[in-house]
């Protein structure tokens, strides 16, 4: 028994879904340097903060953000209580299933849909509704649960970093409570290590019981310049490694790499139309343009999804 145990531990590759590519080498090299006691680049365990974007970095984000899929389903479910939605945009188009028309309204339309479906209930009620949806709803293209649409190589990377005493955080434009509902089970990232966009929440006593009510008012947008500010608010230390896939992550990567000592920044390039999706400079979801140029100029690591990843999803 002892033999089989040491066999498994000795030969197993913690990043087995990564081919022997430059990205994999750069990750392993960075982790080796910052964990080598007495080494020039050594970083104490408490300072080993790593931040990950979620949409497009830890799970897929096509054909549209999964949180939007949830919001659209909730619009349909709640329509009977909202007769006014029948003639009011963007709800009218959402109810008709006309996503093109919904997207034509741009961010304001999307925020309106998210606000209408993510407020007016207590936090516990929201969590219960979302759990139910996550357990039963399937992705329109793959027919998998949304929580199965996670990137196997990134799950391995999270585990590998934590095994090396990194504290892993999610820092994403997605809703903070939305992500906290599944991040612990799906990624092993605790709620207190999830940072996202948020609506206002109000504490009050209802029938003598304290509750937190979700208000239909946007509190914080955790994208672009919002990310370093949120990192300061929630973590209070500068990460030494950051991972993203779009221009929305650029400021976080800049903030991380501007610190002293060894730093690591990585961007995932979605170029695999067969196993996942291919999109970059001209995409409305997860646009990767400016950040790609800066990554090249600064020598940040870029993952070539098609050629670097042995497998993309845990299934298949």
């Amino acid at each position: 028994m002892a033999l089989s145990r040491s066999d498994g531990a000795g030969t197993s590759d913690p990043l087995a879904s990564w081919k022997d590519c430059h990205a994999k080498k750069s990750i392993i090299d960075f982790v080796a340097r910052v964990t080598k006691a007495g080494g020039m680049d050594y970083v104490a365990p408490e300072e080993r903060i790593a931040t990950f974007d979620n949409d497009g970095t830890l799970w897929a984000e096509q054909p549209y953000y999964f949180q939007l899929a949830y919001a659209l389903d909730q619009i349909k479910a709640k329509a009977p209580q909202h007769p006014e939605w029948q003639d009011k945009e963007p709800f009218k188009s959402a109810l008709a299933g006309d996503l093109k028309e919904v997207f034509a309204g741009g961010n304001p339309a999307i925020i309106e849909i998210v606000a209408a479906t993510h407020s007016g209930m207590t936090r516990d009620e929201f969590e219960a509704e979302l759990h139910e949806w996550l357990a039963t709803t399937r992705h329109p293209k793959t027919n998998k649960l949304f929580t199965e649409m996670v990137f196997q190589p990134m799950l391995e990377l999270l585990t590998f970093l934590r095994a090396n005493d990194f504290k892993t955080f999610i820092v994403s434009g997605g809703g903070i409570e939305f992500m906290r509902t599944f991040a612990e089970i799906t990624y092993g990232v605790h709620p207190e290590q999830v940072i996202g966009s948020s609506g206002k929440v109000k504490f009050e006593m209802r029938d003598g019981k304290p509750v937190l009510i979700k208000l239909p008012e946007l509190d914080f947008v955790n994208n672009n310049a919002g990310k370093p500010a949120a990192i300061q608010k929630h973590i209070g230390r500068r990460p030494i490694a950051s991972f993203g896939n779009s221009d929305g992550d650029l400021e976080m990567l800049q903030w991380t790499t501007a610190g002293n000592g060894a730093r690591f920044a990585l961007l995932i390039h979605h170029n695999d139309a067969i196993r996942e999706w291919a999109y970059d400079r001209n995409s409305s979801v997860g646009k990767l343009d400016k950040a790609a140029d800066e990554a090249k100029a600064r020598g940040w690591t870029i993952v070539d999804m098609k050629n670097d990843w042995r497998r993309v999803f845990p299934f298949g």
Binding site: I49, E192, S198, F203, A225, K233
Partner: protein
Amino acid sequence: MQEVLQYLRANGYKTYIVSGGGQDFVRAYAEQVYGIPPEQVVGSMGGTKFGYDKDGKPVLAREPKLLLNDDVAGKPEGIHMVIGRRPYAAFGNSIGDRPMLEYTTAGTGARLGMLVLHDDPQREYAYGPAQGLPDTRIRTFTPALYDEATKNDRPVISMKYDWKRIFAFEGG
């Protein structure tokens, strides 16, 4: 309280500070003094704005704007924002901590809400007006808070009678 912090951590609890004090101020000493890392400090927060200095280096500048007043109802709201789960135990010493204790003890299962009563003018300070203690401007521990604690089995710690020693410098 240092012993309580250590005792809880030794039993697998993650300890947080949830204070009306400035978050960055408390973070500056919490790790060294209490063993509480910066990411486990929730406090009143000012705004910060990301930008670039004249050399193009990214900077976070403080803004004269209050994002969260982490007192009274702001405490459970701050807990929700930063921690995202309901605590199992909460400790406070004034009416500003009441909503945090309410929120904590309203959860299902075993919960603990404790209050420190400053009733030792000799070794430390005394303030109430609960229990006939002086009504000061430092902090307020009202009779209603005291009665509510008694009614809900929330232990009130008497500094004067319950603590052998208050400060580390007093010696053992």
